[in-house]
């Protein structure tokens, strides 16, 4: 089971410009989330710089994502810690110049501690038919089972509601 988030996007703008947008507090507020640097710094481009991304609190989540610059190689690579709402992850930004002078930006968030390949393999090899054949219908038949998807939806919405606001 996949347990990380990986997204790559190309922009027609030069690497230096994209780097600026990733490291400036003001720019991050414009496209990512409102944020505040520890000690009032307006740029997050040195190892040890800490900042918080702020959004609406939700049950089990105080609305704050705490970040720290863990690694930085301007203007090619930067790693942030990204913690909040009971998850503790890292976000790695990688910038590459494209042949036409633009930028290919990769965002890689890891640390969700998902289920290993071993579990996935076992489920596929042995448990899965049983799950689908017996447990899943049984689960769906249960009254509380029917309620679960709504709870689940609420679960991630309460966490991601934070992000939705800024969409």
């Amino acid at each position: 089971m996949k347990a990380d988030i990986d997204a790559t996007v190309s922009y027609p703008h030069p690497v230096s410009r994209v780097w600026e947008a990733l490291t400036s507090s003001e720019a991050l507020a414009a496209w990512l989330m409102p944020n505040e640097g520890e000690g009032g710094v307006g740029r997050y481009d040195r190892v040890g710089h800490r900042f918080t991304l702020r959004s609406r609190p939700a049950p089990g989540f105080d609305g704050i994502v705490r970040c720290e610059v863990l690694e930085v190689e301007p203007p090619r690579r930067m790693v942030w810690s990204w913690a909040g709402g009971n998850i503790d992850t890292t976000v790695t930004w990688t910038l590459d110049q494209t042949s036409d002078g633009g930028t290919r930006l990769r965002m890689h968030q890891v640390g969700f501690h998902g289920l290993g390949a071993q579990l996935t393999r076992r489920i596929l090899a042995g448990g899965y038919p049983r799950i689908l054949g017996r447990r899943l219908p049984a689960y769906l038949d249960q009254a509380d089972g029917q309620a679960a998807p709504a709870d689940c939806a609420q679960g991630w919405r309460s966490y991601l509601g934070i992000f939705r606001r800024w969409r």
Partner: protein, 124 residues
């Protein structure tokens, strides 16, 4: 999140059966390698506590604590049969984790699109 073998830290969840636990709580529950191991065992087939205890070198109390965290996070359910307590995988939790990650991925795609708008519109 630091891996902490042995006694698990307590994880806040909403109810004892864990069906309403937030996906983030499930990931927190999976942050421990012992719990991931237990879940893998339970995924193969339903397991009695004694069986789970057999291939781990930790106390029964510690295993019970780990199972409790998994249960409260909604990853497993327990049932009693005679003197034994059996643990089984709660498959819906896996789907929910995947859905949650998919949603997070959509969040990032939307933000990266917003970065494109910013680059196009902001002076510089």
């Amino acid at each position: 999140m630091a891996e902490r073998p042995g006694r698990p830290s307590k994880i806040q969840t909403k109810g004892d059966n864990g069906a309403g636990a937030a996906p983030a709580d499930r990931f927190a529950a999976l942050a421990d390698s012992t719990r991931r191991h237990l879940l893998e065992q339970v995924a193969v087939r339903d397991r009695a506590v004694s069986e789970l205890l057999a291939d781990l070198h930790i106390s029964q109390a510690a295993v019970s604590q780990h199972l409790r965290v998994l249960r409260e996070a909604g990853l497993v359910t327990a049932r009693k049969e005679g003197r034994h307590r059996y643990y089984q995988l709660r498959p819906a939790a896996l789907t929910e984790l995947r859905d949650w990650l998919d949603e997070l991925e959509r969040f990032w795609q939307a933000r990266l699109a917003a970065l494109g708008d910013y680059l196009r519109e902001a002076p510089g």
